[in-house]
């Protein structure tokens, strides 16, 4: 590899050829400010915040897009640079509705941070931002165009990473608009509600619909029995909202915080992840043994389901009929659990804490009701949960850990790994093996389906027969796999699809700025949770065994079908 000797701010550094000025400066602990730049995305160089000066050049260059060269001399903090950056920021601010104190991103906004860093004072430029009506037509995502800074991160996410293209840009000049085709509301713009756009928006232009007030109202209502479930991936991400290192497992603190808020019982979605495996594993075995439609595709990701129903209706017959762990929890909370504690289903409020904005949409689906009652009443995301913890005066860092309540508090390691890409596949294989062979699988860790490779394939020998499987995450990757299936070229028996890169640990409701680096940390911790669990297969979970003995009978039973399975239809 060739190296370049470069001088940045009067200090020498040697970096590989092809390094950007931004990255080279980073090696010298020089943090050049950025706005449109996002580590996992292509370089856009449109905000012009990361300007730097090159010796003997009249014009400034953008550090994000300019590669270093041998002998380059760069100054990142000259008066010329600082003045230009400040003017650029002033221009951005003059077309941004400055509503900071009421903004959902107050305190967590890249534009606000820049204003602080640049020591901005009152501008004489008139604020020319237009106040557009909020687009809050859907249950998941809110869009406020008047705050958009035209960085194009959301467009790249929606168009390239997700391959959906619900968001695009249109018009030119000062009228340039980041929005939907024909300016439709997201609800009518074939959005999957995956929420990935909200995790990359640097400001408060795209964000989750906030349902925290609904939770506080439920907790305040003395007539209601309020329970909460926590999805597998939250425990390794919420800590970041309190400045803990990425991926730190804070299960006990999370449970304790919810108890301080006054939830009657705190349960684990990992438990219903185990339940999902019992049903889905049996469905797979049933499909294989009876020559039914294969491959079977997982159905626990609502962003993926929305995509399939909207863009790939031919694939619907491949979808597992199993509800997601969130909805299975809701269903048994309004049936088995209600019976068990002797409370009317109408008086139970089931809250779920999810890494996902599409889960809000899923809970609203007409199919997701038991006897006319919503299975899951309120869904909040990781970010909303963090806001609730702050509102409730809880010192999250020092709170003493507590444990999940019974009966849905015990989960296997297989349930835990639902939170990462490949996890559902791995968990299902651990159980399906036993179902097909009546033997226990010894080698339970499937390295082939782990990690951030976009499409992962593996072949598993069960009963002397090789079964081919595939795992895809990020919708643009999923599209490649389903295209094969639609063309009849697929040899897979079972396919796992998650809409978001990395699976739920990278969901659209996770802390803003979930970069691949952060996702890797979270993935590592999820596998640690699995490894340290004494139960690692769903069918070995004693509370699952009890649930079937006491109530459901067996997987795929009549009652199971009624409560835990669903159907899909083209949109």
């Amino acid at each position: 590899m060739n190296y370049c000797n470069v001088i940045i701010d009067r200090k020498k550094v040697k970096v590989p050829e092809g390094t950007t000025i931004l990255k080279a400066a980073g090696q010298l602990s020089i943090n050049i400010p950025t706005l449109c730049y996002y580590p996992d995305q292509s370089v856009k160089a449109n905000c012009r915040i990361c300007l730097v000066e090159v010796k003997d050049r009249k014009d400034l260059v953008t550090a994000c897009s300019t590669l270093v060269w041998e002998g380059a001399e760069i100054i990142t903090n000259s008066k010329k640079v600082l003045d230009a950056r400040k003017t650029v920021l002033e221009l951005i601010l003059a077309n941004h509705r400055q509503d900071c104190l009421n903004c959902i991103r107050n305190g967590n906004c890249e534009l606000q941070d820049l204003s602080k860093q640049f020591n901005m004072s009152e501008s004489k430029l008139p604020n020319i931002s237009e106040k557009f009506p909020l687009d809050n037509s859907n249950p998941s995502i809110v869009r406020d165009k008047s705050k958009c800074v035209k960085c194009n991160r959301c467009v790249e996410m929606c168009e390239t990473v997700q391959g959906v293209g619900a968001l695009c840009y249109s018009h030119r000049s000062n009228e340039i608009t980041i929005g939907t085709a024909y300016g439709k509301e997201l609800e009518n713009a074939n959005c999957t509600f995956c929420g990935q756009c909200t995790t990359v928006c640097p400001v408060g232009s795209l964000y989750e619909k906030d349902n925290t007030e609904d939770v506080w109202n439920a907790l305040d209502n003395q007539d209601k029995h309020v329970i909460v479930q926590i999805a597998p991936s939250i425990r390794v991400s919420i800590g970041e909202e309190f400045n803990l290192p990425a991926g730190e497992n804070v299960t006990g603190k999370m449970v304790a915080a919810l108890k301080r808020m006054g939830f009657d019982n705190v349960f684990d979605t990992n438990f219903t992840a185990d339940l999902t495996i019992m049903e889905e594993g049996n469905e797979l075995v049933h499909r294989i043994k009876n020559n039914r439609v294969l491959p079977m595709i997982t159905s626990c990701c609502p962003g993926w389901i929305n995509y399939a129903e909207t863009y790939a209706p031919n694939i619907i017959e491949h979808l597992s009929s199993c509800k997601s762990p969130q909805q299975m929890f809701g269903a048994i909370s309004k049936s088995y659990y209600a019976d068990k504690i002797g409370i009317n289903t109408e008086d139970i409020v089931t809250v779920s804490i999810m890494p996902c904005t599409a889960k809000k949409y899923e809970a609203d689906r007409k199919e997701m009701h038991v006897d006319g009652v919503k299975e899951v009443d309120i869904v909040i995301t990781t970010r909303e949960f963090a806001r609730m913890i702050n509102s409730a005066n809880i010192d999250f860092l020092s709170i003493e850990e507590e444990e999940f309540d019974s009966p849905f508090g015990i989960a296997s390691g297989a349930g835990a790994i639902f939170g990462v890409t490949g996890g559902v596949m791995e968990a299902a294989l651990r159980t399906a093996y036993t179902l097909l062979t009546k033997e226990e699988l010894e080698e339970i860790e499937f390295e082939d389906v782990r990690g951030l490779e976009g499409i992962k394939e593996a072949s598993v020998v069960i009963d002397n027969k090789p079964i081919k499987i595939a795992v895809a995450h990020g919708i643009s990757n999923a599209k490649k796999v389903i295209e094969q299936i639609e063309n009849g070229e697929s040899e897979y028996a079972f396919v796992e699809i998650m809409a978001c890169v990395g699976g739920c640990i990278g969901g659209g409701g996770q802390p803003v700025g979930s970069t691949l680096k952060v996702k890797k940390e979270r993935i590592g911790q999820i596998y640690n949770i699995d490894k340290s669990n004494s139960i690692r297969k769903s069918h070995k979970n004693p509370e699952i065994i009890k649930l079937y003995e006491e109530y459901l009978g067996e997987p795929m039973s009549h009652l199971s079908h009624e409560l835990l399975h669903t159907e899909y239809s083209p949109k």
Binding site: A45, R48, L51, L67, D83, L125, K150, R172
Partner: protein, 430 residues
């Protein structure tokens, strides 16, 4: 004495410009036949000796551009004729396409041969709809006659040319935005490197040349070459097509030798200013060119003389304004154009132009203050040194140069707060 010349435009008096026969009878395609027998080095030598510079506005040496394009190794290369002619007060490319479609085509085929391109695009602005048809017709006839297509003149050289219509964006005159537009995307400039010459249209090495540049090429390989090269000055050889407009008696397109003074161009060629009005200012090279006062009238129209005086040839537009024009209003019109034509990609150009327009509006309404000068300087400076592409970098030049030459008129706007200027007495051109 007639000061305009007819060298490149020598045979432009066709009865029917769409007739290939007529073009050939007047010596057309002789240059191509000559060139295909020449070594590539000889071709580049001829172009280099002519000191031909890109006539679109950037004035990049054409010979060097060809050599660089020829050096690129690729399965396929692209030559583009940039006929987007979006620069306000510039209309010489339109005249060339109208008068001599085959000449432009011949220049393009010669250039393609020299650099090794096998695909060509003529990118014509949307408004020149009839000319698009004229060029398609020219391509069809030239293909049938064996000047285009497979194995041209039986020299084993292939070239297919397609006419592409612009969508109406000024920024598409910029090379990478033009490439995006040809690809069917919205016209926004790309990050460079890679440069267009390396990865342009559909990722192929691409050589983009202005209509006028290409139409000069056949002359360089004809018997008129000496006439051409001996015109002009040592540094600015040859001739230039200029578009004269505004307050002149004889607006139009003229071929002139380099080296005339601006006064000669305006008064002798352009016929002077109507109604014996006094000259006030001129803008050279289109909307992004500088504003010059009468002090510049005796500057010679050459690359080197204009540069020395802070001016440039740009697209070859010369817009003349008489004493009845108000400079502030004129600049606001120009600013309005840029605020509308910015592609919207980068902050300084997108937001800066809009705010400059608002500030200029304040001047006109008599609501400006001294503080506005500070903002003008800050914004124009940021735009000039930090915009994404040439549009944002250069579009502040008219305002800056107008302030330099006519600061007093701006000051009067501030002083006349109680007595705002109205548009009534002042004629706004463009």
């Amino acid at each position: 004495m007639e000061k305009s010349v007819k060298i490149v435009s020598k045979n432009f008096n066709y009865n029917n410009p769409e007739s290939l026969e007529e073009y050939i009878n007047s010596g057309g395609f002789k240059a191509l036949k000559k060139v295909v027998r020449m070594q590539k080095e000889e071709i580049f030598y001829v172009v280099n000796v002519s000191k031909l510079k890109g006539r679109g506005g950037a004035a990049y040496p054409t010979g060097r551009k060809f050599e660089q394009a020829a050096e690129e190794k690729a399965e396929s290369k692209v030559i583009v004729c940039n006929a987007d002619e979006g620069e306000p007060s510039t209309f010489k490319d339109r005249a060339l396409l109208e008068w001599a479609p085959f000449k432009v085509l011949e220049g393009m085929i010669i250039s393609a041969y020299a650099i090794g391109a096998d695909q060509g695009y003529i990118y014509i602005r949307e408004e020149y709809l009839k000319l698009q048809q004229r060029m398609r017709n020219a391509i069809d006839l030239a293909t049938k006659a064996g000047f285009l297509g497979e194995n041209i003149l039986e020299k084993g050289f292939n070239l297919k040319i397609k006419v592409v219509s612009g969508g109406g964006a000024y920024v598409c005159g910029e090379g990478s935005a033009l490439a995006e537009s040809i690809e069917g995307k919205s016209g926004r400039p790309r990050i460079k490197p890679p440069y267009i010459k390396q990865k342009g249209v559909f990722g192929l090495p691409t050589c983009i040349n202005n209509v006028e540049t290409l139409s000069i090429i056949p002359t360089l390989f004809s018997k008129d070459a000496d006439d051409y090269i001996t015109s002009g000055t040592v540094e600015s050889k040859g001739t230039k097509f200029i578009s004269i407009s505004g307050n002149v008696n004889k607006p139009g397109v003229y071929e002139i030798p380099f080296g005339l003074t601006l006064r000669e161009i305006i008064y002798d060629i352009g016929g002077g200013i109507p109604n014996n009005k006094k000259f006030k200012f001129m803008q050279l090279g289109g909307a992004s060119g500088p504003i010059a006062s009468e002090k510049s009238l005796d500057v010679k129209y050459t690359y080197e003389d204009l540069k020395e005086n802070g001016l440039s040839i740009g697209s070859g537009a010369i817009l003349v304004a008489d004493e009845t024009n108000n400079i502030v209003e004129y600049i606001k019109t120009v600013q309005n154009f840029f605020a509308h034509e910015s592609c919207g990609k980068c902050t300084p150009c997108r937001e800066g132009n809009k705010h400059l327009l608002i500030i200029l509006d304040r001047f006109i309404k008599g609501m400006a203050s001294e503080e506005d000068y500070d903002y003008i300087h800050r914004i124009t400076n940021a735009m000039r040194i930090s915009s994404f592409c040439g549009l944002g970098k250069s579009c502040t030049l008219p305002l800056i140069s107008a302030l330099k030459n006519f600061q007093q008129e701006f000051d009067e706007c501030i002083e006349a707060q109680a007595n705002p200027i109205t548009a009534k007495e002042n004629k706004v051109i463009v």
